[in-house]
């Protein structure tokens, strides 16, 4: 293929060439970054929660009378017995919070009581001997709580948890060498030591925000019923009976006592709903990025079709002359394809630099990782193919120009 005549011809329509190259560059830069954002969000959303999510649901019960903590304590124990007795329910536990809830209680974790700065931060889940079975989270080391270890805890009282169970990631963070089992940690400002009696498999914290990245899998299970203004009940339905259990459980709770408020909208939520709620912003952002990318590619393709069509129309006579002088249809076709490829290469080179530049800027402005080069390479390939595809129709039209055109004047 002779590139020199193509370059010479390009010099005659500089503005158009530059515009197409510019459009390709901008599209590449934006689409690369948009796809990268989509990928990041999807990675975030597909992180495991460490919970066996099917058949699990949560109920939030607000106490109508919040003043008497003793009565709340008795009510919580009665509620749990009632829930566990339901035919459709496999197990149930009370808690203050759970993975993916979004908000909750997190404490600084220390290894020494007088250590000036925290070792790490962790979600605090108030639990009992049924919590692990209800969540469907495996214990990889040590033992579960016993019923006698579970105490009552007022929100403002100092926490004295003699035993705690911690998540695998927290154990690894606190004790990089060796097992956490039997070690002492400090989980509250009350500075009472707690012995690690068990380590769970992966268990996600309630925090889903990107700021909580380093702490996202830190969880401490405290053997206590938290006597707060409200409580959550985690309920595991028997396999296949989730809907029935979600209907039965609130009724059973109201049969226990009417002195509570269970929100009719989100008082009872399946874990699938909890997950959807935790990540709905990410889903929205990913969809938006997807739409923008598709529309941008479509507009760029349409722009290439439009401008190339114009060039073909402008050069009918020259094409005719070339055909009359012996150029084949394939020659004409490959001329336009090559021309587009050359412009495209110019565009994607500029676009790749721009894409990386935009990403570096976003790293400083937003919580964003470095763009992986694979995205740039994939984007470059995609835009070159898109350009060739877009130019194909006008180029085919050009190749059908008859040699007779050379003799015609318009």
């Amino acid at each position: 293929m002779q590139i020199r005549p193509i370059l010479a011809a390009m010099r005659h329509h500089k503005a158009g060439t530059v515009l197409i190259a510019l459009q390709i560059a901008l599209t590449l830069a934006i689409v690369c970054n948009a796809l990268f954002i989509i990928q990041q969000r999807i990675t975030r959303m597909s992180r495991p929660s460490g919970v066996s999510e099917s058949n699990l649901f949560v109920i939030r019960s607000d106490w109508a009378d919040k003043s008497d903590t003793q009565r709340i304590d008795a009510q919580m124990q009665a509620d749990l017995i009632a829930l566990r007795q339901l035919g459709s329910v496999q197990d149930a536990a009370s808690t203050n919070s759970f993975p993916l809830r979004g908000t909750g209680w997190d404490n600084y974790i220390k290894l020494q009581p007088d250590q000036p700065r925290m070792t790490t931060d962790s979600a605090i889940f108030f639990s009992d001997d049924h919590t692990l079975a209800t969540l469907g989270t495996r214990l990889i080391e040590g033992r579960n709580f016993t019923a006698s270890e579970v105490a009552a805890q007022k929100p403002r009282d100092a926490m004295h948890a003699a035993q705690v169970i911690i998540s695998k990631d927290l154990a690894r963070r606190l004790f990089p060498q060796g097992s956490a089992l039997g070690k002492t940690i400090y989980v509250s400002m009350g500075q009472a030591p707690s012995t690690v009696i068990g380590v769970t498999d992966t268990l996600q914290a309630h925090m889903t925000g990107s700021w909580a990245g380093p702490y996202a899998y830190n969880a401490v299970l405290i053997p206590a019923r938290l006597l707060n203004d409200y409580t959550y009940y985690l309920v595991r339905a028997k396999p296949g009976q989730l809907e029935a259990a979600m209907r039965d459980a609130p009724k059973a709770l109201f049969a226990q006592s009417r002195m509570r408020i269970i929100d009719h909208k989100d008082g009872v939520m399946s874990f699938a709903q909890v997950r959807q709620r935790a990540y709905e912003r990410d889903v929205g952002m990913a969809i938006l990025m997807g739409i923008i990318s598709v529309v941008l590619l479509a507009i760029t393709a349409a722009g290439i079709v439009g401008l190339t069509s114009f060039w073909v129309g402008q050069r009918r006579k020259q094409i005719g002359v070339r055909r009359a002088l012996g150029a084949t249809r394939g020659d004409i076709l490959s001329y336009f394809l090559t021309e587009n490829l050359l412009i495209g290469i110019g565009g994607v080179l500029a676009g790749a630099v721009l894409a990386i530049g935009i990403n570096l800027w976003m790293v400083t402005q937003f919580e964003m990782a470095r763009l992986s080069l694979a995205y740039v390479v994939a984007g470059v390939a995609a835009l070159l193919v898109l350009g060739q595809g877009a130019v194909l129709a006008p180029a085919l039209r050009a190749s059908r120009v008859s040699p007779v055109e050379a003799t015609r004047s318009v």
């Binding site: 503005a15 158009g16 515009l19 197409i20 510019l22 459009q23 901008l26 599209t27 830069a29 934006i30 948009a34 954002i37 607000d62 109508a64 919040k66 003043s67 000036p116 700065r117 925290m118 007022k154 929100p155 403002r156 009282d157 100092a158 926490m159 400002m189 009350g190 203004d229 408020i261 709620r277 709905e280 912003r281 929205g284 952002m285 938006l288 990025m289 923008i292 529309v295 941008l296 507009i299 760029t300 349409a302 722009g303 439009g306 401008l307 069509s309 114009f310 060039w311 129309g313 402008q314 976003m362 402005q365 937003f366 919580e367 318009v410």
Partner: protein, 432 residues
């Protein structure tokens, strides 16, 4: 002349419908996307109390112990009861109010309405005059009511609508948490956006429905909503003595001189507390005004900023696309332009004619963009975020949409029109 150009432009646009449609569509998409995201940003980063916000300040102190102390750390974002009360009683500002969020069970007198929880604000009396809160009926309570822990309440217009059918309910009794309160005032519609005075309960959340004196709420142990940060032994049954920050404190300082004096007062207070052994850290105070406080808290979600940048990148591509297509369109008409030049039209009038054509594309594109922006905002309102309901196009943004569209298309037409006019008429005729 203009109408003639317009006529020419419309004829030319009609001649090549696909190309015109593509230009209009690209412009409309770009404008629609930019205006949607910009409107959301505009709504979210607005001034909650225009004209007053620069006089309202949020004092911050650092009463924490030395545990985890770093000299460059910001002080806590709320105040403890002890410090809040001390600052309140010092009365060094024009107005000052100490407050926190909460929720109360409301037991309506009519049996037709079931008891329900309503978000509440427990505050001292200056809240109402300081934030220029409009009253429909009655008024707020006064400092005497605060001191006496009076059982008085102020309702919002919405809650008054729900409980009393919108009638003047001042003087009536409202039962909350089994205690009777006398209604002293009903607010008119009031929703400062963002919810600047307490960002813990959601930056853009709907406001609380009922207001109760802070002392009354703490005496009756009403439930709190919001964040509590503790240090040292922290937790204790009594929040009034706990080493925890959990209250918001706002002051009104009318002049910069007053603000400077108040900052000095905060420093002195901190020094004094340190001397008394109540504070341990070196004095570390902040006095931000409303907008400074919102900036510091980064209330506008970063995703919204990202979307605005994305939309403007999108608009840029659409504009480049339009420039390319207009160039093709104008250059294709060199014959026609050559004839007009040969017949005596000046370059300037040809340029004007082409720009009118570009402007026409811009107007149609702008109208399309407006429709798309309305559609986009409707989609945003369907989103689950707490600011969703606020996404409405206001008049300035509507005008901005049109100006942006026409400016964008004129800008896009500038280069092609200039290029098309540049070729000498003889060459334009000859090339045919």
């Amino acid at each position: 002349m203009f109408t003639y150009y317009l006529d020419l432009a419309l004829r030319s646009l009609k001649r090549n419908k696909a190309l015109t449609a593509l230009m209009v569509l690209a412009l409309a998409l770009g404008i629609g996307a930019s205006m949607t995201t910009l409107t959301v940003l505009h709504v979210l980063s607005g001034d909650p109390l225009p004209g007053k916000s620069h006089q309202l300040f949020y004092p911050q102190l650092d009463p924490q112990d030395m545990d985890g102390y770093k000299p460059q750390d910001e002080p806590p974002e709320q105040v403890s009861w002890i410090d809040g009360m001390a600052l309140l009683q010092a009365r060094r500002a024009h107005f000052q109010a100490l407050m926190t969020g909460g929720a109360v069970p409301i037991q309506p007198a009519q049996s037709s309405i079931d008891p329900f929880f309503e978000d509440a604000r427990y505050t001292t009396a200056d809240f109402f005059p300081m934030f220029d809160v409009p009253f429909l009926y009655g008024q707020g309570w006064n400092a005497t009511d605060d001191e006496a822990s009076a059982h008085v309440a102020v309702l919002t217009r919405e809650l008054n609508e729900k409980l009393f059918g919108g009638k003047d309910s001042t003087g009536q009794t409202l039962r909350m948490n089994d205690v009777a309160f006398r209604i002293v005032g009903v607010l008119d519609s009031w929703r400062p956006t963002p919810h600047f005075y307490d960002l813990n309960t959601g930056s853009y959340s709907a406001d609380e429905g009922v207001f109760v004196p802070l002392a009354t709420a703490t005496d009756l142990k009403f439930a709190r909503n919001g964040s509590t940060d503790c240090w040292d032994k922290g937790s204790s049954e009594n929040m009034k003595t706990a080493t925890c920050t959990w209250l918001q404190f706002w002051v009104q300082l009318d002049t910069p001189a007053e603000a400077t004096a108040y900052r000095e007062f905060l420093l002195n207070y901190s020094r004094e507390q340190k001397a008394l052994g109540h504070f341990q850290r070196p004095p570390n105070v902040r006095l931000r005004d409303v907008m400074g406080w919102l900036d510091y808290n980064k209330v506008v979600p970063s995703d919204v900023h990202l979307q605005v940048w994305l939309a403007f990148g999108f608009l840029l591509v659409c504009l480049v696309n339009t420039v390319g297509l207009m160039l093709a369109k104008f250059l294709r008409r060199s014959g026609e332009l050559g004839v007009r030049r040969a017949l005596g039209a000046s370059r300037r009038s040809l340029f004007a004619q082409l720009l009118v054509e570009a402007g026409a594309v811009g107007l149609v594109g702008g109208a399309g963009g407006l429709l798309l922006a309305l559609l986009g905002l409707w989609l945003v309102r369907g989103q689950p975020s707490d600011y969703a309901a606020l996404a409405h196009l206001d008049l300035p943004m509507l005008l901005a949409t049109f100006v942006a569209a026409v400016m964008a298309s004129l800008l896009a037409g500038l280069l092609p029109a200039w290029r098309a006019c540049l070729t000498p008429p003889a060459l334009q005729l000859k090339s045919n």
